[in-house]
């Protein structure tokens, strides 16, 4: 396939068809072009394919010591399938000659040796096929000596006396083609995306990463607003000179607005909270606030001693009201849950049941 048209290999995993055993017609499997980037990966209409699933009649058979090579015909073409033999099947050839069928001593009793022999025989009957029988094969496509073949991960004989399986296969495959394989792959492009939702999520992620990396315990909006500058610079680069200046919020105002929204999201998630609602907005990072952690721990320890909470433990809402009384009115339930999680990870408290905590 033309290297310019091919999807870069980094993005192949994004195509769900790449991870599935594609049920293509054998004709398409034989004709699909190979990738220039990686050998043994093929493309069907911009979808990268490396493993397939076929159902067809055996039209030729070759047996070797370690494997069978079956030619499978599904009505659109023939492809050879390499089916490795199980160890069971290799041994069977010898044991067949040596063993005779012993009588079951007890008709009703479970005889493991006889059952195992039956199992082996069933497995072999499913794997040893003759010409004209129906075979199902799933596995990767490889090119060996300029011939395409399928190396079977799994294969078995299909009993289909009234062709129901084949008819169903034919109709299902056509459906798959129409709904998935013939439709081009759509990938959302990450760059130059100015939608408000994604810039908000990017802003919150930037702030979250900063708080985590620097182990910040408290901050003001002024401290973090510079972090969001790159989002706006990227925006102005993408819109080059030909765009006329539009009357509207300036970059500075947009940044403030974005910062405010991002901080609100973080508060809603419980990652930060404002201990005191005062003029200067000071935000405390929940899990880094030692005072809050200590307060929660003390509350749980004291209340666990009471008979009321002795067995069951303290409910999270009870802890929340106590923390609000003792520490700060602005602690939200989400923030408290993060605190309790942190305490539990440190083994300071333990959860007795869902939403109930106690201490040792």
């Amino acid at each position: 396939m033309d290297p310019v048209e091919e999807l870069p290999s980094m993005l192949w995993g994004l195509d769900p068809i790449f991870s599935a055993f594609a049920r293509l017609h054998i004709r398409d499997i034989l004709l699909m072009p190979e990738s220039c980037q990686v050998p043994d990966i093929y493309f069907y209409k911009s979808h990268p394919i490396y493993k397939v699933d076929v159902l067809g009649t055996v039209v030729y058979k070759q047996e070797r010591e370690d494997f069978y090579s079956y030619g499978v015909d599904d009505g659109t073409g023939v492809i050879s399938c390499l089916c490795w033999k199980d160890d069971l099947m290799k041994v069977q050839v010898d044991s067949d000659k040596r063993e005779k069928e012993p009588h079951d001593d007890d008709q009703g009793a479970f005889n493991p040796a006889a059952e195992l022999r039956k199992l082996k025989r069933t497995q072999q009957s499913r794997c040893r096929l003759e010409i004209g029988e129906l075979l199902r094969v799933r596995g990767p496509v490889k090119t060996y000596r300029q011939q395409r073949e399928i190396t079977a991960y799994a294969y078995y004989k299909v009993d289909d006396p009234v062709m129901a399986a084949q008819i169903e296969w034919m109709t299902d495959v056509l459906q798959l083609y129409r709904q998935f394989y013939n439709k081009p792959l759509h990938l959302e492009s990450d760059t130059a995306c100015h939608s408000p939702v994604s810039s908000l999520s990017r802003a919150t992620n930037i702030i979250k990463d900063f708080l985590q990396q620097k182990l910040v315990s408290k901050f003001t909006p002024y401290d973090v607003q510079d972090l969001l500058q790159p989002l706006f610079l990227r925006g102005t680069e993408a819109a080059p000179a030909h765009q006329e200046p539009v009357a509207g919020p300036s970059a500075c105002q947009q940044l403030h607005h974005l910062l405010k929204e991002a901080l609100q999201v973080l508060q809603d998630e419980g990652l930060v909270y404002r201990r005191l609602k005062s003029q200067d907005e000071v935000y405390f990072v929940t899990v880094q606030d030692k005072d809050l952690l200590m307060a929660a721990k003390d509350i749980i320890r004291e209340d666990s001693k009471r008979e009321k909470f002795g067995e069951k433990g303290c409910h999270v809402l009870h802890i929340l009201s106590a923390v609000r009384q003792r520490h700060s009115l602005n602690v939200s339930k989400a923030a408290l849950e993060l605190v309790l999680q942190a305490l539990e990870c440190n083994s300071d408290i333990v959860s007795t049941r869902h939403d109930h905590y106690t201490t040792f």
């Binding site: 039209v59 004209g132 006396p161 062709m163 129901a164 034919m170 109709t171």
Partner: protein
């Protein structure tokens, strides 16, 4: 028995251009083991069609004269007979849900035809 022949005999001649493989069905009327030839007959629009099948690839073949068979194979023209089908698969389809089978095969044919026409259109547009 309801006769079925998925393509009339005339379209067999187009076969070589259209598809490499063909699905054909009909009742087995005669089998010549020494020459590896079988004849399938089907009635379509009050006309009897015969198709000669080369069974060399599917031997040993146990014929049931009168039973319906489905052939999957390539069209071939060899010695004396103008159009023969070299069978890769020859299945007895007595007991099969014929309308469903016919529907599936017609769907598949239509799908390939659409694809060929899209390809031809693309080639025309490119030139």
């Amino acid at each position: 028995m309801r006769p079925i022949i998925f393509n009339g005999k005339s379209s067999l001649e187009h076969c070589r251009k259209e598809f490499q493989y063909e699905h054909l069905a009909g009742g087995l009327t005669c089998y010549e083991q020494d020459m590896s030839r079988a004849t399938l007959t089907a009635q379509h629009a009050s006309k009897e069609h015969h198709v000669v099948i080369n069974t060399s690839l599917v031997e040993p073949f146990h014929p049931i004269i009168g039973a319906q068979y489905l052939v999957l194979g390539e069209t071939d023209s060899t010695d004396g007979v103008d159009m023969m089908v070299r069978a890769r698969v020859l299945n007895c389809i007595d007991g099969v849900n014929i309308p469903r089978l016919q529907k599936a095969i017609t769907e598949q044919r239509r799908f390939f035809k659409e694809r060929e026409s899209h390809r031809d259109d693309a080639v025309h547009n490119a030139t």
